[in-house]
């Protein structure tokens, strides 16, 4: 019941917020924030109560829904999905606090609309992470497009209509392929079991023949690769992230995109083990291309929001790389990376959002010398940037290195290339910092840019604290992730390669 | 009598009706042609029912009649309204609903 309750709280909240009178925007916001915080509490309860000794699903609940097609309302979490849900529940209230006045500046739409859309989105995302019925997952996967569509299209920048439509079409096309593959999978399961099912655990136990696997895999992979996004299916992301409000961008890039990589981890690998192994080399190449491509194009951007969007494409390359390495370090690293990336990119988007809303421009060239007029802001920006470039001591470093270590064991060239990516990460972050924060401030900057205020600080600071704390104590998260990862390895029948040199007396 | 003859008659009636719908411009005539087609279909139904000795065709024919009656009411009403506003019953004049 707990998971259903957790999923319903934001939904109820959004309805409640929507029913409030439009004349009291402040009340609407407070109510919305309250519901988001309750969700956070419930999700923390879920994570704290998680049994770290097993990688199987926990808190499982299943109700019949459309029995004729073997569809049921099945929810359940393992370490990976539970952490992602907590990340979502943390980022939603933070995005709300950071974007407290964003809706007021919008030309269309009201504050209560904005906040109630965010809550619907949260509900859908939690549903997608917790769903263990493929059909139910699909419902959430598609349903979450609409709140985001309106969040971008109503509250975004000048090009918002274009960006929102592009996002929607991309996602729908991806979803279409997934739908086709899902129906195919249903037919296969009907042939194997007699009655078709969408239940994920049952599907993983099927013995699908490799040829069919390879076809069905592609349908799912395409949907997830668009969502993740991998080069060359990525061009919706920079537009969407640049046009949306910073809070929306945080949720879009930090949380919603994780559904794609989570889908790879949670559905693709367990259900299609043979196909995953078959396609892994190609996908690893694609991931490495993403790492470099995203980083290089990020360096060439003149718009800060687009720049961050492209760095995310680079980071998603790392995540996908770790997933398709299949080693425990790769998988754990990739899962942990998803959480860290949400926090670090969120922090970057929010700080830059503060700056952009003050200066009224997203062009890097319009800044310069911010450090002089708003040192604390510059410091926050630098810290978020350092976590984005995976500086040791930040949690993103742990995950990035785990991905590299996991990949190196099975695919050395890919790992070596990916390692070179860390130089590019330093270039795009520090060059941006140099151009925006250092130097002598121009007159416009001095006049418009003010120091970060208390509300803004309270949104960003928790993220930075989390990033540093998890950098030194990543085991808190990894302890939950490891059993889930082992379970995935069991499904695909892959075990870590052994080091050739076994040292006497150093083993456990 | 050979049942094929009924079907042949139905086909001829249907063709005449279809021809009328395609080439005539007066809405009333077009309307009459549509009725002709419907009744051609009815004839085929009834003939088939007689041939097989079941009731299915008869039931279908009754349905068609009911629908046709309803359609006549709605259709004529529309034609009368168009005639009132445009002073013409030509269907080519009523071509506003396009791209």
């Amino acid at each position: 019941m707990l998971l259903t309750i957790m999923l319903l709280i934001p939904l109820v909240g959004s309805i409640a917020v929507f029913l409030l009178p439009a004349s009291k925007p402040a009340l609407a916001k407070q109510v919305a924030l309250g519901f988001a915080l309750i969700t956070l509490v419930v999700s923390s309860v879920v994570v704290v109560g998680l049994d770290n000794s097993t990688g199987l699903l926990q808190y499982v609940e299943s109700y019949e829904w459309i029995a004729a097609f073997g569809i049921s309302w099945t929810l359940g979490v393992n370490g990976i999905s539970a952490l992602l849900i907590v990340m979502t529940a943390i980022l939603v209230p933070i995005a709300m606090i950071a974007g407290w006045w964003d809706a007021e500046n919008a030309t269309r739409g009201t504050a209560k609309g904005y906040f109630s859309l965010i809550l619907i989105l949260e509900s859908c995302i939690i549903g997608a992470f917790a769903a263990n019925d493929l059909f139910l997952f699909f419902v959430f996967f598609e349903a979450m497009l609409f709140p985001i569509y309106f969040l971008i299209g109503k509250f975004g920048g000048p090009q918002r209509a274009y960006a929102a439509m592009k996002f929607l079409l991309y996602s729908l096309v991806g979803g279409l392929f997934m739908l086709a593959a899902m129906i195919g999978l249903y037919v296969v399961s009907a042939r194997e079991l007699g009655t078709g099912t969408f239940d994920v655990v049952t599907l993983t136990s099927l013995n699908i023949d490799p040829g069919t696997q390879k076809m069905l895999f592609l349908g799912f992979f395409f949907a997830f690769a668009v969502k993740a996004p991998l080069v060359p299916f990525h061009t919706w992301l920079p537009d969407a992230a640049a046009e949306a409000t910073p809070g929306t961008s945080t949720l879009l890039v930090g949380v919603l995109d994780k559904v794609g990589t989570f889908g790879m981890l949670h559905f693709l690998l367990p259900i299609f083990p043979e196909a995953s192994k078959f396609y892994a080399p190609v996908i690893i190449v694609l991931a490495v291309i993403s790492i470099f491509y995203g980083a290089l194009v990020a360096i060439g951007q003149t718009d800060v929001m687009r720049l961050i969007a492209f760095t995310s494409i680079s980071h998603f390359g790392f995540i996908v790389l770790g997933i398709f390495a299949f080693t425990s370090q790769g998988l754990s690293g990739a899962s942990f990376y998803m959480v860290n990336h949400g926090f670090s990119t969120g922090a970057l988007f929010l700080v830059l959002g503060y700056l952009v809303s003050r200066r009224g421009s997203k062009r890097i060239a319009d800044f310069g010398g911010v450090q002089k007029v708003a040192p604390l802001m510059a410091g926050m920006f630098l810290l978020s940037g350092l976590s984005s470039l995976a500086l040791p001591g930040m949690s993103s470093f742990v995950s990035e290195f785990l991905v590299l270590a996991g990949t190196f064991a099975v695919n050395q060239p890919a790992a070596i290339f990916a390692t070179l990516g860390i130089v590019l990460a330093a270039v795009y972050i520090l060059w941006m910092y140099q151009r925006m924060m250092t130097g002598v401030p121009s007159q416009e900057v001095t006049e418009t840019v003010t120091e970060i205020n208390r509300r803004e600080l309270s949104a960003v600071a928790p993220l930075l604290v989390l990033l540093i704390a998890l950098g030194f104590f990543p085991q808190i998260a990894l302890d939950s992730l490891n059993p889930a990862v082992q379970q995935i390895q069991e499904y695909i029948g892959f075990s870590d390669p052994q080091a050739p040199v076994v040292i006497e007396g150093s083993g456990e | 009598m050979n049942p094929n003859n009924y079907l042949l008659l139905a086909a001829i009636l249907f063709t005449i009706g279809a021809y009328g719908v395609l080439v005539r411009r007066n809405a009333i005539i077009v309307f009459l042609s549509v009725e002709l087609m419907l009744n051609a279909a009815n004839l085929a139904f009834v003939a088939a029912a007689r041939n097989t000795g079941t009731l299915d065709g008869l039931v279908a024919a009754f349905f068609v009649m009911v629908v046709a009656a309803a359609e006549v009411v709605v259709g004529l009403a529309i034609i009368v309204t168009i005639f009132r506003t445009r002073r013409s019953a030509s269907i080519d004049e009523a071509s506003l609903m396009k791209y």
Binding site: K166, V231, T235, Y293, L296, V297, G300, Q301, T327, S328, Q329, S332, G333, Q371, K372, L386, L391, P392, G393, V398, L402, A405, F408, A409, A415, I416, T419, I422, V423, A426, V427, L430, Q434, M437, T438, G439, V440, P474, Q475, L481, N482, V485, D496, P497, Q498, A499, P500, V501, I503, E504, S506 | A18, V21, L22, V30, I91, D92, S95, K98, Y99
Partner: protein, 619 residues
């Protein structure tokens, strides 16, 4: 205890950086106290260690499991042995002195508190680097010192050149970090562990090529951090930072981390001839390159930076010689840490008195105005050029001796380097303290306050006697032997022959410089009609130009073309599909012409088609 060593300065940094303006008044004092107490703990640990028998001197401290995923088991633990303790003493000792010095040097800077916060952060990171008990934790320290270095180089953030220099240092260091990351990855897949012990124990069992690759990757890391060829270019720009920073980070401690890494990983280098040769070659090239750059610089700090590169080149070279050199690499590192820090502080003191002017052509005749600075600088000068019995003599001479045992050319390179060192240092002395005054209009040189001169005096004493103390009282060869191994060089020239030759070369270099700069007046503006070699040295041997044409330009071209590709090709393709669909629908909507007849005809056609198909299928 070991954790407290790191924890205290870290605490200081956290308090100062998070405390904000409230800590402005006493922040610098807190930083000094933190650094000093760390030094006292270090001294205590050292005394304890001395008191123990040789085989019980290593102590470890396990804090918690940092990362544990599958075979990737990384403890957060420290390891203190004879090698680490000398580093700890150097870092906290010199660090504390420089903290004290900075109180005076940064007295008028509005961001002094921040500066001290960063300094404490640096001390903590550097201690973490040398106290880590595995390569992965070392990596954490390794990049954290890089961060501190970045923050301190670009401390004057409003100066575009400082901001650019900080960024450059970080990025070039990152290239080196790729080496360290790759080395760690290789170690992990080969040995399944990253602890120093485990790697050392397994090195002999691994495939020789793997060991060589690990060695080369470690060398790349060392090149980045220690500003060795070909990653040397950042160090000269790093002089944009405040001078105490140059003394502490870019002379005495952080830049020598590469030497520490190689010596710490000696188990790898002992087994790979190729990797050692590469190390020696890199060291030899850098020691000559750095000295060469140092000869032509008019900027006193850049001259010293060139010298630092060159001296670290000596250490790297020594470390590449294997067991005959490890000990002397560390020995030279320690003496260098003292005399180079002293020289930098002296330079800072001079700048302090000269309105932050760094151009030596505007100095001259300062020996009477700044007596203490002059005296301490002179002691450092004697130590660096290797005049007996000052510190540099003992360590450098041993390296030259060991180098001749390896290879004649390497030996000659070290000897030549010693001569050039004498040349540029004499030039610096002559231009700064001798000759006639060439001061700018409103500059009135004055001696620095005691808070600055006392650290200089302490370091000068170290430069004078530190070498002897370590060699004769500390017996450094045998102190480090349990960690690094030690061997006397074979087949080398006898010391009795070598020392006079070395001294002659040094004297030649110094004398020639004195003829050029001490006896002749020095033009206030740098002469432009100079030889190609001088031009090359002034341009840092074209290091930046090469980097720019090899990496930056093509990189910029690549990013620009990829950005274009992204907007035009990929997005263009996607947009093209949308446009095609749009165009198609614009055409096809013309079919909706509003004529009932044409709709009916279409319907009729469709119905006929279906009928035909049904018929055909039945047939």
């Amino acid at each position: 205890m070991i954790a407290a060593l790191i924890g205290l300065p870290l605490l200081g940094a956290v308090v100062l950086l998070l405390g904000g303006r409230r800590t402005n008044a006493w922040g610098h004092l807190l930083a000094v106290v933190m650094s000093a107490s760390s030094f006292f703990i270090a001294a205590m640990l050292f005394m304890q260690m001395v008191g123990k028998p040789e085989e019980e001197r290593e102590i470890g401290q396990f804090l918690f499991d940092w990362i544990a995923v599958g075979a990737f088991q990384i403890p957060f633990g420290f390891y203190l042995d004879q090698l680490a303790i000398v580093f700890v003493l150097l870092i906290t000792g010199v660090g504390t002195l420089i903290h004290i010095y900075s109180i005076g040097y940064m007295a008028h800077d509005p961001n002094r508190r921040q500066f001290f916060g960063y300094l404490n952060l640096f001390i903590a990171s550097m201690l973490l680097l040398v106290l880590a008990d595995n390569y992965f934790l070392l990596y954490l320290g390794w990049e954290s010192v890089g961060l501190a270095s970045y923050l301190l180089i670009s401390f004057y953030q409003q100066k575009p050149s400082a901001a650019a220099a900080g960024k450059k240092a970080f990025i070039v260091n990152r290239v080196g970090d790729v080496g360290l990351a790759l080395a760690i990855l290789l170690m992990f897949v080969t040995f399944g562990t990253l602890s120093f012990e485990g790697v050392a124990a397994g090195a002999g069992l691994a495939a020789p090529t793997t060991v060589t690759w690990i060695g080369l990757a470690l060398l790349l890391a060392a090149c980045g951090k220690s500003a060795q060829f070909p990653l040397q270019s950042w160090l000269l720009d790093a002089m944009e930072g405040p001078t105490p920073v140059s003394a502490l980070i870019h002379a005495a401690t952080m830049v020598t981390a590469g030497v520490y890494l190689i010596v710490r990983a000696h188990a790898i280098f002992d087994l790979s001839e190729t990797a050692r040769t590469a190390v020696v070659i890199v060291g030899a090239i850098t020691l000559l390159l750095g000295a060469f750059i140092g000869t032509a610089k008019d900027d006193i700090k850049k001259g010293l930076a060139g010298s630092t590169m060159s001296q670290i080149g000596y250490m790297i070279l020594a470390a590449g010689l294997g067991p005959v050199g490890y000990v002397f690499a560390i020995f030279h590192l320690l003496t260098h840490g003292m005399f180079k820090a002293g020289l930098f502080l002296g330079a800072g003191s001079v700048m302090h008195g000269m309105h932050d002017d760094v151009n030596m052509r505007h100095y001259g005749a300062l020996r009477t105005m700044m007596k203490v600075t002059y005296a301490t600088f002179a002691l450092g000068f004697l130590a660096i050029i290797g005049v007996p019995p000052f510190a540099g003599f003992w360590s450098k001479d041993e390296i030259i001796h060991a180098a001749f045992g390896q290879n004649l050319f390497i030996g000659l390179a070290t000897l030549l380097g010693a001569g050039v060192t004498a040349f540029y240092m004499t030039r610096m002395m002559a231009m700064t303290f001798f000759g006639e005054a060439r001061w700018e209009q409103d500059v009135k040189p004055h001696e620095s306050p005691a808070v600055m001169t006392i650290p200089m005096i302490v370091l000068a004493l170290g430069s004078a006697f530190g070498g002897m103390a370590m060699l004769f009282i500390g017996d450094i060869e045998h102190w480090l032997e349990p960690v690094t191994g030690f061997a006397y060089p074979q087949n080398s020239v006898s010391k009795a022959v070598l020392i006079p030759i070395t001294l002659a070369v040094i004297l030649g270099g110094a004398g020639y410089a004195w003829l050029c700069y001490g006896r002749r007046p020095i033009p206030v503006d740098a002469p432009t009609n100079v030889s190609l070699l001088t031009k090359a040295a002034r341009a840092d041997a074209y290091g930046d130009a090469i980097n720019e044409s090899l990496f930056m330009r093509p990189g910029q071209y690549l990013t620009r073309s990829l950005t274009w590709f992204d907007a035009k090709a990929i997005d263009g393709f996607v947009g093209g599909i949308a446009a095609a669909v749009g165009g198609l629908s614009a055409r096809s909507r013309r079919l909706q012409n509003g004529y009932v007849r044409s709709y009916a005809l279409t319907m009729f056609g469709g119905a006929t088609l279906i009928a035909l198909i049904l018929l055909l299928v039945r047939l």
